[in-house]
Every structure is written in C-alpha cells, then in structure tokens.
Symmetry: C2
Subunit: 218 residues, 2 copies
DNA sequence: TTACTTTTTTAGTCTTGTCTAAATATATTT
DNA sequence: AAATATATTTAGACAAGACTAAAAAAGTAA
C-alpha cells in the first residue's frame, strides 16, 4: 500500500503533531527523521498527492484523517511487536525498538489481528505506551510524572517519557521496571532531586530522571 | 547488510542450483523472479562485485560459499517464521508463504535465535521442508513420493513437492495434512492413479497428485 | 522600513532497481 | 558452414528517495 519511507514520515508527523498546536514544520520532521529539509519537502508533496497530509507551502503540515488512521495502524503494529518480543521472546525493553521498527512495516491485516489475539489484546506496550485499537483510538491511563509527587507519596511505574537506550539502561541497572512500586521518601527543593525507595533499596535521583518516569498513583 | 532485492536473487539462485548441474541461466532466474532478463544481468553484476556469485558472461552463475551461506540464512528465517505462523498464530500452511516472504528480510541475528528457541528448534517447516541450521547445513529426512508406493503400503505425510496454493488447497479440502497416515489400497497401472485411504475416507487420486506428496514410510 | 537571519523550497544530481529496444553471443537447423 | 533462432548483454530511460547548492519566502532586529 504505502512504502516504508512514506510510513516512517507519517509516523514522525503523527508524533510531532501532539506537541505543536500549529502544523508541523519541515525542519522538525527533518530532525526527527535524521534527514535533510529538502528531502522532507519532496516527501510532503508526495504525501499530499495521496491525501495523507494537508500541506501548504511554507506553512507546515497536518495529517488528514486517512493519514492519522494510517499512522495509528503503524504505531499499533510497532507496539504489538514490542510486546511480542518482550513477552514471548524474552527481550528486555531496551532492545526491542530497532527490531520493531522493521516489523512495523510487514503488511498483513490478518497477521496483526492474530498477533493481537496471541498476546491477549494488550493495551500498553513494554514502555507503557498505549496501543491504538484497530480503529485508531488510543487507550488512556491515569499516569503522572514521578517528579510531581510529594514526600510520602508512591506509585507504580507504568512508563517512560524519554525512551533513549541510555535512560532505559539506567533504569534496568537500578531495578526500575514496569510494575515496580516507587515511594518518595524526601524531596530536595533546591535542585528537585528525590530520595526514593525502589523495592527495598533507597536511592537519590535527579530531577531529570524523575521527570521522565510515569507512575500510576492511587 | 544486503538489500531485500539482493536477498531475493540469492534465494532464487539457491533453489535453481539444485536442479541444474551447470551454472544457473539468466532466463531461469528471470522466470523464477517474475522479472526481465536484463534486470537479472544487472543484478548478477552487483552480486559478483560483492563476491556472492561466480558470474561469467553468457555462462550463467553459481553461488560462492558466502552466497550459499547468505541464501541459507534467508531460507532459515523464512521457514522459522512459517513455523511460527502455523504453530503459534494458527495460520494454515497454505496462507503463510507470502507473509514469510516479508518476514525473512528482518535483520536481527538475536531475533532469529530467540525465535528458533521459542519454537523449540524445529527441523522442518509446515510444508515438510528442512530448516537449515545457523551454519547453513540442511537436515535430511527419509522421505519418498506417494507415487512410488505399491498397493498395501502406507506412510505418514511429511511434505509436498509442489507448493502452489492450488495444490495445498486441494490437500486441505481432502483432509490431507502433515502427520496424516495414507495407505495405498490399489493402483491402476494404466494411468498411475491410486486408490488410497486417508483417515477413514477412501478416495482416488491422479498420478500428478501422488507424485507431489512426500511420505515417511517404516 | 530596511537589513539580516532562518526556514523552506527549487533545481539539478546520484543510487538502486527496474524496464524497453537494440546489439551481440550462443545454439540449432538445414 | 551458412542461416536462423534463442539467450544474453548493453545502452539508454524512468521512478523512488535521498542529497547539495542556490533561490525565495518568512521572521526578526535595528
């Protein structure tokens, strides 16, 4: 249906759209895709011809409904494959992204449906990100950044904001994973660092760390 | 490492090499790949540059050791994915080929190893074809064509020679699948047709059918 | 408003993989 | 061996997707 490259652009625009109220800029896409602005312009014209984006010269782009639907289906495939890799093939959550980047382009609706069923219809991927349903709607979850908790509060880790390998490795090394309970023992107002308890371990983490960890509180 | 297209050519040459004692001809590859002879010539030059084939103008090609190893690894991935689709996702054996054609190009050695383990190291795919090991060696199996059996003999279905969708559908419709026991009740010498028993059902099949079904006898 | 900077687009080129049409090599007949 | 047929390669073109360098538009500052 669409080329791998077209699908990657749609995905990039979809992710960028959540942060910009206006249309997404050419340069923003170029940075996200690790490519040149001129290549982006070329592709935007093609996507516009196919009615996947609304593109006005010098004004950035937005996805059409068809574009959104397509992007959601790619994200759906990506996240389902991530669940598969972690749950069934015992990969750790910091290893699966690159492989899922390839698997998300496999074309077969039946395959995706069967995979979804095989995994028992998961609603969130190993990073805690929501898996859109077939019709493109994203499930919601009550999540809050660890950095917003006060001393004495606690919650269960349900996701990360920064998905970089270095951050995920840091979490692994410190025993922080999905489902782990984290309590805030004390908070240093000067630099926003927190003293927390993870399982039985006490540790101090910087504001940068705590503002990239999502918890579910009760 | 190699492009999808390069991998597909290697696979095609690998399969064709088993039938021709000499080098594989340009036209044979073109037919197998559903493309034009001129496109094949172009690609053969590229593969020769990369030391994957031995190519002499007008004389056809053979795979180098590197070429054979690469082809075997692609076939390995293809067949492991087919096992996965049938065993884990409940696809039938006539539906999996196209999807596996896509999955075979996913690059991740770790993924293949984990998949192999997850499937409990299968030696044959759902069509009964051998799955090469990591080092590229193919397992052997004592198999014989149904058409070579005499009246009174029987065996267990372990594979097919013709893998076309129409043939596989015919088998499905008639209750013939891997692991099914087939007995030869009578043989008509005039046209080579056989009266056979499949489970509790008696039926008559043509020579064309019986010469495309592999059985394991004891 | 004019001058300067940044962003975006255009124009032209490159690579990969494909194609058609024409040329050349090999195979087969007579 | 010459004539014909078939197989293969070459030459030139095209589409997709990316790039560089230059031009044009938009944004910012004096």
């Amino acid at each position: 249906m669409y080329s791998d490259s077209e699908e990657n652009y749609l995905k990039a625009i979809f992710h960028l759209e959540r942060f910009s109220k206006e249309g997404v800029s050419t340069n923003a896409i170029a940075e996200q895709m690790q490519t040149k602005a001129s290549s982006v312009t070329d592709m935007l014209k093609k996507l516009a011809d196919k009615k996947l984006v609304n593109y006005i010269k010098y004004q950035g782009v937005t996805l059409t409904n068809q574009g959104k639907k397509t992007a959601a289906s790619i994200i759906r495939k990506h996240r389902l494959w991530e669940v598969f890799l972690v749950e069934k093939l015992d990969f750790s959550w910091d290893e699966v992204h690159e492989i899922a980047e390839q698997l998300e382009h496999i074309a077969s609706e039946k395959l995706v449906d069967r995979l979804d069923k095989h995994l028992d219809f998961p609603k969130f991927d190993p990073h805690g990100d929501p898996i859109p349903s077939k019709d493109g709607t994203f499930p919601e979850r009550n999540k809050v950044l660890l950095s917003t908790l006060k001393a004495g509060e606690s919650g269960i880790c349900v996701g990360v904001k920064d998905t970089s390998t270095s951050f995920l490795k840091f979490l692994d090394k410190n025993g922080i994973a999905l489902g782990i309970t984290i309590s805030v023992l004390d908070r240093e107002e000067f630099d926003g660092s927190l003293e927390i308890k993870v399982g039985d371990e006490k540790m101090t983490i910087s504001q940068l760390i705590s503002s990239n960890l999502y918890l579910k509180t009760n």
